[in-house]
Amino acid sequence: MDSNEATTSESVSKKKGKTKKVKRKVKHDEAPVQEMEQAEGEETEKKSESGPCFPPTFSVSEIKNKQRRHSMFLKLKEEKRKAPPKEVPKTIENQRIYDETTVNPEDEEVAFDEGTDEFSAYFNRLTNPKVLITTSDRPRGRTVRFCEQLATVIPHAHVYYRRGLALKRVIPQCVSRGFTYLMVINEDRKVPNGLVLCHLPDGPTAHFKVSNVRLRKEMKRRGKDPTEHVPEVILNNFTTRLGHSIGRMFAALFPHDPQFVGRQVATFHNQRDFIFFRFHRYIFKNEKKVGIQELGPRFTLKLRSLQKGTFDSKFGEYEWVHKRHEMDSSRRKFHL
């Protein structure tokens, strides 16, 4: 008894993918030979257990008739020679838990919400962006160079030294001088590690964690410095409602009409809640081939909080706060 069970289990393990086909072939065997052709046509249909039930652990060796057994074996061999269907690998992006806040493009309420929010002035072409870039107090070399390079990438950007001023006092002055964005790069141990992006008239403030900053000197095979042309903006994979808000924040940093003459593009690519910033220059060699050169700084952002209103970390109301123990419990759940 035991020995029999062992053999059948072995045969099952060898033909894991073939048990289905083995079952069907068994059915065909039992039926008269004339029905073989019809049965082959039925292989493509879904399984329907209308014939006699065979144990799933059926192998070719159990057929006693030598000719039938031989033909079955040849058929199996031919099946094996055909390439098996390529399996789609499971990735974390594939297995992502469906987020119920994913924006449906036809949703009227969300469209109205986005059409009348703080960025509506920019998206209705009433204002042009003007960015003020500053740092935390007493920045060190790397951060200073990063700010300078950011100012070349973002048009109409001005870098100012912080001088230990309080942000809450800087903001009304920026508003009066017509700035639309305040960007504060926070530095820790001579390396930029945080970014506070505040949309100015009364707009939301986003706080990001910055990592993996690569300045122009450190980039391999880079092109020449970026020109003054307004770049195009690519925003990838911002699907949820929060992602939409952040995507619009990034979009509103750049002027509306890109100058395609400059062939420059800034990309904000969101993957697994990390936003990758890249700046490239492209050239179309022919209709299908493009060559790209990476210019400019490269950095990674991760959203820590989104606060409604201008910068007020103590008394402001937060629209979204990253809470590690509650939100990072599942590896397949993302919020942007």
Partner: protein, 379 residues
């Protein structure tokens, strides 16, 4: 429309001006909007029940209008101009028999009588954040705000407040503690009032005592507390802050009993069910969450696409949860029978009874465990 509004048990007001009704049993949310053209100045600031039978919802908007929505008919039945946006947003809306009380941020508290355009006005001070009505004594309202201490007004004698709270004593640096009353709650069956402040304090005042300072002061978190609600069971209060932290505080000692998890954005509206241990919270993260107060677990979570400002729970929840309650009752009865068996084991004193009962239970389980182990060994 009428059918949809009749089954809704939770009503929410959003920043886009849409009144949302949610039916938790059917897990459906409906939007009730007056016109096809929505605008941001229709943003809902306050909501209140129009009558004790909860058949009408009063919705106050930023542009100064108060709309009446009938839950039976499913449409807005009346609109009333109650002030203009220059005076600030509505901070409180209440209904007494045949009149409506509104309060705005500039401190103008008005009593609107049905039918007539006369209003009684009271100035409660500038910078009002909240006006709340005492549910047992409907002519009493409390107001408070930024640098505007808690004041209880009797609308029959509106010239002076009945009770004005005094600020807490100077802190350990001998500096004045700033005042910022964000939300107010009247404790039922007593004269006491609970407030939560923007400086993460929860204060309990007792107007019946001569002490005008808070009777109890508790601190929670580091962020401004934005909403407060009193559950049906006495002795606790649920507060929410601008970071999305919801906590249940004990009002006897001032300690945190527990936190309710799940919120990611600032809590704008909080309401406990009048009889069941449930609390509904809504906020800037565009979700309605209903937590159970007993085990602090999340019961329902509904995504509503706009930022939410206020929430109203109807007592109709009872019908939906009746089915669940009956199941629980059966289980509880079974447990009670078992307890009775153990209680009849020894009859010396109460303490030893419990200990004896516990011991007996322990020994029984021990025996069972041993028996099981023996059986497994035999196999």
């Amino acid at each position: 429309m009428a059918a949809k509004s009749q089954i809704c048990s939770v009503w929410l007001g959003s920043e886009t001006g849409i009144l949302k009704g949610v039916s938790l049993t059917k897990k459906q949310a409906f939007n009730f909007c007056e016109m096809s053209c929505m605008s941001r100045d229709q943003e809902v600031c306050v909501m209140a029940w129009g009558d004790p039978h909860e058949s009408e919802v009063l919705v106050g908007s930023v542009n100064g209008t108060v709309k009446t929505f009938s839950t039976d008919k499913g449409i807005f039945t009346a609109t009333r101009e109650c002030g203009d946006p220059s005076q600030g947003r509505f901070t409180g809306l209440a209904v007494t028999d045949s009149s409506m009380i509104t309060c705005v941020e500039s401190g103008l508290l008005k009593v609107w009588k049905e039918g007539s355009t006369e209003t009684a006005e009271v100035n409660v001070g500038n910078g009002v954040c909240r006006m709340q009505q005492n549910q047992s004594q409907r002519h009493r309202v409390a107001t408070g705000g930024k640098e505007n201490p808690l004041k209880v007004w009797d609308l029959e004698r509106p010239d002076k407040p009945i009770f004005t709270a005094k600020n807490v004593a100077h802190d350990w640096l001998e500096m004045r503690v700033p005042v910022w009353v964000r939300d107010i709650g009247f404790i039922p069956d007593s004269d006491k009032i609970v407030t939560c402040t923007g400086h993460h304090q929860v204060c309990v005042y007792d107007p019946s005592t001569p002490q005008r300072r808070p009777v109890l002061e508790a601190q929670f978190g580091e962020y401004p507390l934005t909403a407060l609600s009193l559950p049906a069971s006495q002795g606790t209060v649920v507060v929410g802050n601008s970071h999305g932290e919801l906590a249940i505080l004990d009002l006897r000692k001032g300690l945190v009993c527990g936190c309710l998890k799940g919120l990611a954005g600032a809590v704008r509206g909080l309401q406990c069910h009048p009889s069941l241990p449930l609390v509904a919270s809504c906020g800037l993260d565009r979700f309605l969450r209903v937590h159970s107060l007993e085990d602090r677990s999340l019961q329902h979570k509904v995504y509503l696409k706009s930022r939410l400002n206020c929430v109203l729970l109807s007592s109709r929840e009872l019908e939906s949860s009746n089915a669940d309650v009956s199941g629980d009752v059966e289980e509880v009865k079974a447990e009670e029978e078992e307890d009775e068996v153990w209680d009849t084991m020894e009859t010396v004193t109460e303490k030893s009874k419990k200990r004896a009962a516990q011991k007996d239970e322990a020994t029984v389980t021990g025996l069972d465990g041993e028996k099981k182990r023996k059986l497994i060994k035999k196999k």
